[in-house]
C-alpha cells in the first residue's frame, strides 16, 4: 500500500495534530507532562506506520517483518498509556481513532478511483485494527507487571520483625500467607532472631484471615528452624473460629507454643525468659 504511505508521509504533521486532539479528548485529566511524552510516542508510531506502508507492496495487512517494528511501537505507546492511567478502553479508542483521521485524509488527498480508495481504506483499517489488538495485549501485560510490582512492594512492607524487648522480637503477620510469603516470613524471622540475638520470637497471626494445613505446615517449619537456632517461637492471635477449625483438620500444633492474644503471648515470653516483669512493663502486660 504505497499510496497510503505517500499520503501519510506528506501529511504526517496534520495526522499527528488530529491524533493529539483526540488524546486530549480521551484523557482530559492527563498531566501536561505525560501528554508531552505520549505525543512523542504517537509521533514515532505515525512515523513507523508511514514507513511500513511505504515499503509494503502488497495489500496483505499487518504481516511480515516490516510490521514488527510498528507493533513494537504500538506496544510501547500503550505501555505509556497504561502508566499514565488511561483505561484499556481509552487506549484502544485512541488507537482506533486513527482509522477515521487517516481515512478522512485519504478521502481528501487521493485522486485515485473509488475502487483504489476502497482498497487503501481497507488496508488501513486492517492495520489499525491489528494495532488496537496489539495495544490491548500490551496494555494488559503492563498492568499485570505493575500489579506484580505492587505485590512485591507489599510483600516487603508487610512483614517487619520488631525487637520489642531484650531477647524478644515480634513479627505481626498481616494478609494472605501464600508459599512465597511463608518462605519469606521464615527467612526474615530467622535472620532477625540472629541479628537481634533474640531468644524468643512472637509470631502474631491476628491479621491472617485463614490458617489451612499449608499455612500450618509453614508455621511448624518456621518454629522448628528457630529451635535449631536455640530460639523459641510463640504463635499468638489464632482466633477461636480458627482454633476450632484447626482441631477438626487435625493439624498438629503441639510442637509450638500458642497463645490466644498478643498480651498473653508476651506474658509467656517473659515467663520463658525467667524475668519477672518489673517496673513499667507491669502496666504493659
Amino acid at each position: 500500500m504505497h499510496g497510503v504511505g505517500q499520503i501519510l508521509l506528506q501529511n504526517r504533521a496534520s495526522v499527528l495534530d488530529a491524533w493529539l486532539a483526540r488524546l486530549r479528548d480521551t484523557a482530559p485529566g492527563a498531566h501536561p507532562a505525560s501528554l508531552q511524552l505520549l505525543k512523542l510516542e504517537l509521533g514515532t508510531l505515525v512515523e513507523k506506520l508511514t514507513g511500513y506502508f511505504l515499503t509494503d507492496d502488497e495489500d496483505g495487512a499487518g504481516a511480515g517483518p516490516a510490521f514488527k517494528s510498528v507493533e513494537e511501537q504500538a506496544a510501547t505507546t500503550s505501555a505509556a498509556c497504561a502508566r499514565d492511567g488511561l483505561t484499556p478502553m481509552e487506549t484502544a479508542t485512541l488507537i482506533l481513532s486513527l482509522k477515521s483521521i487517516a481515512g478522512e485524509l485519504l478521502d481528501r488527498e487521493t485522486s485515485a478511483k473509488a475502487t483504489e480508495l476502497y482498497r487503501m481504506r481497507t488496508a488501513l483499517d486492517a492495520v489499525v485494527d491489528r494495532l488496537a489488538l496489539v495495544t490491548f495485549a500490551a496494555f494488559v501485560e503492563t498492568r499485570e507487571e505493575i500489579i506484580k510490582r505492587q505485590g512485591r512492594a507489599l510483600l516487603d512492607l508487610a512483614t517487619p520483625a520488631l525487637p520489642i524487648w531484650r531477647h524478644i522480637i515480634l513479627m505481626p503477620l498481616v494478609g494472605i500467607i501464600d508459599t512465597q510469603r511463608a518462605r519469606q516470613v521464615m527467612e526474615w524471622l530467622l535472620e532477625a532472631l540472629s541479628r537481634e540475638e533474640a531468644r524468643i520470637a512472637i509470631l502474631d497471626v491476628t491479621g491472617v484471615p485463614l490458617i489451612d494445613s499449608r499455612v500450618a505446615l509453614h508455621l511448624t517449619k518456621t518454629v522448628e528452624a528457630a529451635r535449631l537456632l536455640g530460639s523459641q517461637v510463640i504463635v499468638t492471635g489464632i482466633s477461636p473460629d480458627a482454633a476450632q477449625t484447626l482441631v477438626k483438620l487435625d493439624v498438629d500444633l503441639s510442637n509450638m507454643i500458642t497463645r490466644g492474644s498478643l498480651r498473653s503471648g508476651l506474658a509467656e515470653a517473659f515467663r520463658l525468659l525467667g524475668q519477672h516483669s518489673k517496673g513499667p512493663i507491669e502496666t504493659m502486660i
Binding site: 494445613s213 499449608r214 482466633s239 473460629d241
Partner: protein
C-alpha cells in the same frame, strides 16, 4: 420460601485463585446465615480442596459453591473437580497424614470432618470430583 440458588464459581490454577475461592466461600456462608465458625470451616475446606487443585494437578480445576435457602434452613454444596491425574488409592489418600508431596496430609480427611456430607470419586488419568454439603438448621 425457597429462593433461587446462589452460585459462585472460581477457576483455580494458582494460589491466589485458592485465596479468592475461600473468600467467596466465607462470604457466601455468612450471606446465608451460617455462624462465623461454620463459615470459617467452609472457607478452610475450600482452601484445602483448592490448594489440592493447585498442588496435585497440572492445570488446576474448578470450585463451585451453591447455596440454597429453605424455610429456616440453608445448605451449601461445595464441588471441587479437575481433569487431573486422579487418585490411585482413595482409601489411602483419605488417611490422616498421607501426602505424596510432603504436605501435612490432612486436607482430604480434614475436609471430611469439616463438612456434613463428603463424597469423592476419582479415576486415574481422568480426574477427581469431590462433593460436600454443609447445612444450617
Amino acid at each position: 420460601m425457597s429462593l433461587e440458588p446462589d452460585v459462585v464459581t472460581v477457576n483455580v490454577t494458582s494460589e491466589i485463585d485458592a485465596a479468592e475461592a475461600r473468600q467467596e466461600a466465607r462470604r457466601l456462608a455468612l450471606r446465608h446465615g451460617f455462624t462465623t465458625v461454620r463459615a470459617h470451616g467452609l472457607a478452610t475446606a475450600v482452601s484445602e480442596l483448592a490448594m489440592n487443585l493447585v498442588l496435585h494437578t497440572d492445570r488446576g480445576g474448578l470450585i463451585r459453591l451453591t447455596a440454597q435457602d429453605a424455610t429456616g434452613a440453608a445448605v451449601i454444596e461445595l464441588v471441587a473437580e479437575d481433569n487431573g491425574p486422579g487418585i490411585p488409592d482413595l482409601a489411602l489418600a483419605m488417611e490422616d497424614g498421607f501426602s505424596t508431596r510432603g504436605g501435612l496430609g490432612c486436607g482430604l480427611p480434614g475436609t471430611r470432618r469439616l463438612v456434613d456430607t463428603f463424597a469423592i470419586t476419582s479415576r486415574v488419568g481422568e480426574g477427581t470430583r469431590i462433593v460436600c454439603l454443609v447445612r444450617r438448621p
